[in-house]
Symmetry: C2
């Protein structure tokens, strides 16, 4: 897989992974491309095209082998490796993420939490201690940190993101309502802008119903 795969295809992969995981939980070992297409509400040709980007996994007259396809898509998504994750900002959103067990099944391991609030520093969330921001640098230098989730207010997010990149953190899961302006283009940023999502909802309501 040397060619560049479009982000549109990549964005659809987790959905395949999710549906295949559910099939697997229900004990389904094999599914025809027609059934998968009806289940996921995308055309069989779209599925074929998407999976062909990674070499294709279907067999004419057999369909898809569910456990095999699930594993392969997991590998494509890098879920066969452990990713250590830290959370910066332990408000409700940080807590929600820290407590979302599903992530662990996907190979994401929470290794530290950081906050500036002295009232919660030292407390534990699922056995992981909340540390002060002063400890961030040492922690990042002495531990493998793959992903930093930024769940603090936007005013400080850009600064902290820069600092993290200097300390060798290469991936940021950004919930702060700001576009991070990072010097190193190889840093991977995934934004979850909740307000943007709500505004899109509002647009569609206005268009359909008002």
């Amino acid at each position: 897989m040397n060619k560049e795969i479009s982000q549109a295809v990549i964005r659809r992969m987790p959905r395949y992974y999710r549906y295949l995981g559910e099939l697997l939980e229900s004990g389904v070992e094999r599914i025809s491309s027609g059934d998968l297409s009806r289940l996921m509400k995308v055309t069989a040709s779209q599925i074929r095209q998407d999976l062909n980007n990674f070499g294709g996994f279907g067999q004419q007259g057999y369909g898809y082998n569910v456990p095999y396809l699930y594993d392969e898509i997991g590998k494509i998504l890098g879920l066969n490796q452990t990713h250590n994750i830290i959370i910066i900002g332990v408000g409700n959103l940080g807590l929600a993420i820290a407590n979302y067990m599903k992530f662990e099944k996907l190979g994401f391991k929470l290794v530290a939490l950081f906050d500036i609030n002295p009232n919660i520093i030292g407390q534990e969330v699922r056995g992981i201690k909340i540390r002060s921001m002063e400890e961030l640098e040492d922690f990042c230098r002495n531990n493998a940190v793959d992903i930093a989730a930024l769940t603090m207010p936007k005013a400080t997010a850009d600064n902290i993101a820069h600092h993290l990149v200097e300390m060798g953190v290469h991936a940021i899961w950004n919930f702060a309502h700001v576009d991070l302006d990072l010097p190193d283009e190889s840093v991977v940023v995934e934004n979850v802008h909740l307000s943007d999502s709500l505004m899109q909802l509002s647009y569609n309501i206005t268009k359909n119903f008002k």
Copy 2:
């Protein structure tokens, strides 16, 4: 604005709104298309194209009038109207959303919270009482509910979504990790699938660094 505007354009609108809001807060009244383009890191021609979908707002040799454009995009996004929102599932994620003050500035008004946990029913979040699920139907029938945010586990999300649609709720902000399968196609659904976002991050890490 009779023609259908693509969701790709719509997805970019909140970002314009956010940048224009920040310019406005900094007291900027007018911006050239070149400056706006550099600030937002999109081409001036992309900006022109996007805004032309709604009639275009720039003037040759003047650039964009910031307060005017901000207001107009706000109207396009339906932010000049109040949207009443209820939250179903008052765990950490539900709390995070309930406490996110930014939403109110955008015209979204939290009117009720619902949960099944008897230990928290009756408690208040920012003056809004947490109600039991038994009260949901009455509440929806007697109050204008524009949006329901689903922040409960995925096992019950689809059922509750169906029920909400029967009660006349037309827009769902879905955080449950499942695609809702709703009978009424006019219902507006906006998904925030956190795991999908994390998997996409994982893919990009794997591709870039491993």
